[in-house]
Symmetry: C2
Subunit: 220 residues, 2 copies
DNA sequence: CCTATTATGTGTATTAGATACACATAAGGA
DNA sequence: TCCTTATGTGTATCTAATACACATAATAGG
């Protein structure tokens, strides 16, 4: 009745206007040379969240990013070595956020969420579940903002939504909704990106909290 | 690094037009005489879902009801006896469904979800989380139907929604939405309940699946 | 038997939000 | 200087959400 407990973390980011997932290559059996979601054992004296944060830090050097528990997977045969229950998490990393891949550096890489390689264990199922959750959460939470740096253009924000949802959105309607919600603050800065400069915005957490208190959710 | 894993199950039903939760009285320390959510250890060769189904059956005699994983709780100090990670589930039992409480019979009872006693361990947190999840799911899934017998009146259905959401709904608008969705089948049976008889309906899973495929969700 | 009580069942008007859709502007690069 | 590309902006239409009142059928009680 004593079971090993791990955490596995699906790490999402946006790159090249695409939803990407960080995978590492397994160096040892079972599933040697398969790609896998980063993870590891929960230690004796740490909570599940702490374990996930620690693993995330170890694997990517990343701190202070959004992390949420996803689901627990506990099929008795999911790990051929023995009974392992894993608590899956997912993390959202801002586009362009620097990643210091750890000792597994050469073996870690970003993969397109809709073009995944074969994965070890039941990681494909975990990943599919994470993508589904992210898509849903995007529509009624601020998950979209968590994949952007503090300052961002409206096109960048829209691009995040399009990458995750996998479909094009209408620019004017997208902006209309944002304006209606009133959770963006225009800054006086501009992104000069080769073309016509775009205004930079920040997310107003205060205004969002007020909306949440009123039961108003994001309508994308 | 070897941890005990349990499942705990928040068991919901509707009684007297109120959302109720099944709690059992603990006979032994720690938290002796406190009320607690039913649960128990995950066995060596069973999946998490199987463990939850087994516990549910053992505690209530109930089979074939809706069961969904909720969240995993793993604070190192949540159980004073040692390291226990629990995978919480919630179950929805149709109103009026017979419960054969097990050996703990005398100690098991239904409590109003909004008038709970002191609970053992972190069970209050688990329960609050379950209620929140149920409220949310009610609005975009068929959870409401799962707390009703196969045949039900429209008033009974509305009463489930009102009990869970904790607010009154407009009868005509409620029925209008249902009609728009078209997931109900009128039967030729009537519930004679002391007053004017009410028509009995059944839920059409087929039609619901079609709606789901189109991405249409329940708008309550 | 008659009346009071209680739950069922039904439609319309108003408001709010969602969707569909096109063009002028500013900058960089050829 | 022109071409390319991304930014930024408003209106009309449709669909869904909300607010709201009364006749009907049955039982219970006097």
């Amino acid at each position: 009745m004593s079971i090993q407990v791990t955490v596995d973390i699906v790490i999402f980011t946006i790159r090249d206007s695409r939803l990407k997932v960080l995978l590492i290559k397994r160096g040892i059996a079972p599933f040697k040379d398969y790609m896998a979601i980063p993870g590891g054992f929960v230690l004796e004296d740490e909570s599940l969240d702490t374990a996930a944060l620690r693993e995330l830090k170890e694997e990517t050097g990343v701190d202070n990013v959004y992390l949420e528990q996803l689901y627990s997977f506990g099929d008795p045969k999911r790990d051929p070595r023995g009974r392992v229950v894993t608590v899956a998490y997912y993390a959202l990393i801002p586009a362009g956020h620097p990643i210091k891949a750890g000792s597994d550096a050469s073996a870690a890489a970003w993969y397109d969420a809709d073009d995944l390689p074969k994965l070890a264990f039941d990681h494909r199922r975990i990943l599919d579940y994470a993508i589904e959750r992210l898509r849903n959460k995007l529509e009624y939470t601020t998950a979209g903002f968590k994949m952007l740096p503090e300052q961002f253009t409206l096109s960048e924000l829209q691009s995040v939504y399009e990458a995750v949802l996998g479909k094009k959105l209408d620019k004017r309607n997208f902006r209309k909704k944002l304006e209606l919600l009133g959770v963006l603050k225009a800054t006086s800065a501009w992104r000069k990106t080769g073309r016509k400069p775009a205004r930079l915005y920040t997310f107003s957490a205060k205004k969002f909290e007020k909306l949440k208190d009123k039961g108003i959710l994001f309508p994308f």
